[in-house]
C-alpha cells in the first residue's frame, strides 16, 4: 500500500522540492522566466485533461488563458491609473472609462472573472460542439476559429482592449509594487502552489470514476453512449475545468510578465499549448508539466540565439514526435525503462503505447 502511494505521488514530491528550491539557485530574471513557464504548465494540465484523457484536441486554449489574463490585466491597469482611463483609451478618443471596465477595479471581481468567464465559455463551447454527432476534428477547427476571432476582436476594439499592444504598464497589485523582488518572489511561490494544487486536482480527477469515463470517451465515444452515459455532459465538465485552469494561469501570467496582448492568445500560442503536451507526453499529467517547462526553456534559449533555426527545428521536432513518439517524452522514457527492466528481469513488463487517441475516422 505504501509503495503504491509512494509511486503515485513521488513525481509530485520531486517536482515540489525542485520548484520550492529554485529561488535559491536562480537569479531574478531566470526566476521570472520559470514563473512564466509554470503558468504555462497549469494551462498544459488543462489541455492534457481534454486532449490526452478525453481525446478532444482543443486549439483554442489561448482564448481561455487570454480571457483570464485580460480580466486580471484590466484590474492591474485600473490600479495603476487609480481607476482613471487607461492611456490607450485616450488615444482612441474615449472621453471616459467604458462601463465594462468599472467593475474590474475591484480585485475580487476581476480575479473571480478571470476564472469564471473562461470556465463558462469553455463549457458553452463544449456543449455546442461536443455533441457526439459532430466529428471530433470539427471541435479542433472551431476552437481554432474561436482563437482567431478573439485575437481579431481584441485588435479591432482598440479603445476597449489596447489593440495590438494589449494591456501593459502595471505598477502595483493590491498595493504591492510589482517591481519589488519580494512581490515577485511571493508571486512565484503563489504560482508554484497553484501549479501543485492544480496537479493534485487533476490527479484526483483522472483517478476517479469520472476520469475513467473521460478515457472511455477518448477510446470509444459511441460505446460510452450505448452504456448509458452522456458523453456530452462529461465533455462540458472537463472543458469547464480545463478552461478555468487556463484562466487562472492567465491571471498569474499577467501579474508576473507585466503584459498581455493578442499575440499571446491567438492561433499560434494556442497550438503551442497543445504542442507542449504532445512533446511532454499526452495522457500523463507530469508529461504536460514537463513539456510546458522544457519546450519553453528550449524556446527562450534557442530562439534568442538562433531564431531561424528554432522554427525549423521546432517544426521538424513536432513531426518527429507525432510520428515516432506519439506519447511524448514521458512515454519514451517509460518504454525505455520497461525494455531495460524486461532485459534484467525475466518477466516482461510491457508498457502499452497510448492508443491512437484520435476520434477515429471522420
Amino acid at each position: 500500500m505504501t509503495s503504491t502511494f509512494a509511486k503515485r505521488w513521488a513525481t509530485l514530491g520531486i517536482l515540489a522540492v525542485v520548484l520550492f528550491a529554485a529561488p535559491a539557485f536562480a537569479d531574478e530574471f531566470r526566476l521570472n522566466l520559470l514563473a512564466k513557464f509554470l503558468t504555462f504548465a497549469i494551462v498544459a494540465l488543462g489541455v492534457d485533461l481534454v486532449w490526452g484523457y478525453t481525446g478532444m484536441l482543443s486549439l483554442g486554449h489561448g482564448v481561455f488563458f487570454g480571457i483570464g489574463a485580460y480580466a486580471a490585466g484590466m484590474y492591474l491597469k485600473l490600479e495603476s491609473t487609480n481607476g482613471g482611463m487607461a492611456d490607450f483609451m485616450g488615444w482612441s478618443g474615449l472621453k471616459e472609462l467604458p462601463a465594462v471596465w468599472f467593475p474590474f477595479a475591484n480585485p475580487i471581481f476581476a480575479f473571480s472573472m478571470a476564472i469564471i468567464l473562461p470556465t463558462l465559455l469553455a463549457a458553452l463551447v463544449a456543449y455546442l460542439v461536443g455533441s457526439s454527432r459532430i466529428t471530433g476534428v470539427y471541435f479542433s477547427l472551431l476552437t481554432q476559429a474561436l482563437a482567431l476571432i478573439l485575437s481579431i476582436a481584441l485588435i479591432g476594439q482598440q479603445a476597449f482592449t489596447g489593440g495590438t499592444n494589449g494591456i501593459t504598464n502595471f505598477s502595483t497589485v493590491l498595493g504591492f509594487s510589482l517591481r519589488d523582488q519580494s512581490t515577485q518572489q511571493f508571486l512565484y511561490f503563489l504560482t508554484v502552489v497553484t501549479l501543485l494544487a492544480s496537479y493534485v486536482l487533476c490527479k484526483w480527477v483522472v483517478n476517479s470514476r469520472f476520469g475513467g469515463l473521460l478515457v472511455a470517451i477518448r477510446d470509444d465515444e459511441q460505446r460510452v453512449r450505448f452504456c448509458g452515459y452522456d458523453p456530452r455532459a462529461a465533455k462540458v465538465l472537463v472543458m469547464a475545468l480545463s478552461g478555468g485552469l487556463a484562466g487562472l494561469a492567465g491571471a498569474l501570467f499577467v501579474m508576473q510578465v507585466g503584459i498581455i496582448s493578442p499575440a499571446m492568445l491567438g492561433i499560434v500560442p494556442s497550438v503551442e499549448m497543445v504542442i507542449w503536451v504532445a512533446m511532454g507526453g499526452r495522457g500523463t499529467l507530469i508529461g504536460a508539466v514537463l513539456g510546458a517547462i522544457l519546450v519553453n526553456s528550449a524556446k527562450s534559449g534557442l530562439s534568442e540565439s538562433f531564431p531561424d533555426l528554432w522554427q525549423m527545428a521546432f517544426g521538424a521536432l513536432l513531426v518527429g514526435v507525432v510520428l515516432l513518439f506519439p506519447d511524448g517524452l514521458v512515454g519514451a522514457v517509460k518504454r525505455a525503462y520497461a525494455q531495460l527492466s524486461a532485459r534484467t528481469r525475466t518477466a516482461p513488463a510491457v508498457v502499452p503505447p497510448l492508443a491512437a487517441a484520435d476520434g477515429g475516422r471522420a
Partner: protein, 302 residues
C-alpha cells in the same frame, strides 16, 4: 442598387478564393481523414512560384518585370499548380501516408510541416513581403453602370476558379479516375477489394488538392503582396467552409464557400470585420446543431 451589385460581386470574389483553398482540404479530409494544416503553406508555395516565374521571364528576356509580356501570368498559374502539387506529393509520400485516419495527429504533424515550409520560404526569399507586378491587361475595371466598377483582376480570379471547378467536376463525375476517387471516399475497403488502387488514388487526390492551393496562391498575388505567412490568413476560413459544406461532394463545398464569402462581406458592410467573423462563426456552430455533417454528405459506412 449599386451597393447590392458590388456587395454580391465582392462576396463571390472572396468566396471563390476560399473555394479554391477549401476544395483541397475537403477532399483530403473526406478521402483520407487528414487535416492538412500545411495547406496554407501550399498556397504560399503557389504565390512564390508566380513570383519566381515573373523573375525568370524578366531575367531571360532581360527586361524589367513591369515590361514582360502579359501572357506570363498564364504560365505562372501552371507553374504554381505544378510546384504546389510537387510539394504536396512529397508531403504525401514522406509524412501523410503514415497518418491516414488519424485526423488529430495529422493536424499536429502538418502544423510542424507548415512551420518548416514558412522558414524555408523566409530563408530563400527573405522575411519581408515581395510583390508580383500584375500583367497590364488585368488593370482597370469593367463599368456596368456609373459607379458600378468590377475590377478585371477580380473577374479574372472568378473565371479561373470557375474553370478549376468545372475541370474538377468533369474529373470527379465524368471520368473513370473520378469514379474511383468517389468510390474510395464512400467505402475505402470495398473499393480496394474491387481493385481500385487506393494508394494511387490518395496520392493523386492529395497532389490535385495541393495544386489547387497553389493556383489560389498564384491568384492571391493579384490582390496584394506575398510573404511567408500568406496562407495562414486564409486557412481558418477555408476550414469553416469545409465544415459547413460537408465532405466529399463538390456542390456542398461550392455552396458553403459562397455563403461564407458573402456573409463575411455583407456583415462587414453593416458593421466591422470582427462582427462579420463572429457572426459567421456563430452561424456555423448553430447550423451544426441541426446538420452536424454540413450541407451535403456522402452516405457511406465509416
Amino acid at each position: 442598387m449599386e451597393t447590392v451589385v458590388i456587395q454580391v460581386f465582392n462576396g463571390l470574389s472572396v468566396g471563390s478564393i476560399l473555394l479554391l483553398i477549401a476544395l483541397g482540404l475537403a477532399f483530403t479530409f473526406g478521402l483520407m481523414g487528414i487535416i492538412n494544416m500545411a495547406h496554407g503553406e501550399l498556397i504560399m508555395v503557389g504565390a512564390y512560384a508566380a513570383y519566381v516565374t515573373q523573375g525568370a521571364f524578366s531575367a531571360v528576356m532581360s527586361v524589367p518585370v513591369a515590361q514582360i509580356p502579359g501572357f506570363y501570368f498564364g504560365v505562372a498559374i501552371v507553374v504554381a499548380f505544378l510546384a504546389a502539387a510537387a510539394v504536396g506529393l512529397a508531403l504525401e509520400a514522406g509524412l501523410i501516408r503514415f497518418l491516414y485516419g488519424r485526423p488529430l495527429d495529422s493536424l499536429l504533424a502538418t502544423w510542424g510541416v507548415g512551420l518548416v515550409l514558412q522558414q524555408v520560404a523566409r530563408s530563400i526569399f527573405g522575411a519581408p513581403n515581395v510583390q508580383v507586378v500584375s500583367p497590364s491587361w488585368l488593370n482597370g475595371a469593367l463599368t456596368l453602370a456609373p459607379g458600378v466598377l468590377l475590377p478585371y483582376k477580380r473577374l479574372f480570379i472568378l473565371a479561373t476558379v470557375a474553370a478549376a471547378v468545372l475541370g474538377l467536376y468533369l474529373l470527379l463525375y465524368r471520368s473513370a479516375q473520378g469514379r474511383r476517387i468517389r468510390a474510395a471516399m464512400q467505402n475505402r475497403d470495398i473499393a480496394s477489394a474491387l481493385g481500385v488502387s487506393t494508394r494511387s488514388i490518395d496520392r493523386f487526390t492529395f497532389a490535385l488538392g495541393s495544386g489547387l492551393a497553389g493556383v489560389a496562391g498564384c491568384t492571391l498575388t493579384l490582390i496584394g503582396p506575398i510573404g511567408p505567412t500568406l496562407g495562414t490568413n486564409y486557412i481558418v476560413d477555408a476550414f469553416l467552409v469545409v465544415i459547413l459544406g460537408g465532405l466529399g461532394q463538390l456542390v456542398g463545398t461550392v455552396a458553403a464557400a459562397f455563403s461564407i464569402g458573402s456573409l463575411n462581406t455583407t456583415f462587414e458592410l453593416f458593421s466591422t470585420a470582427t462582427v462579420g467573423k463572429v457572426a459567421v462563426f456563430l452561424l456555423v456552430i448553430v447550423f451544426l446543431q441541426f446538420r452536424p455533417n454540413g450541407f451535403v454528405t456522402v452516405k457511406g459506412r465509416r
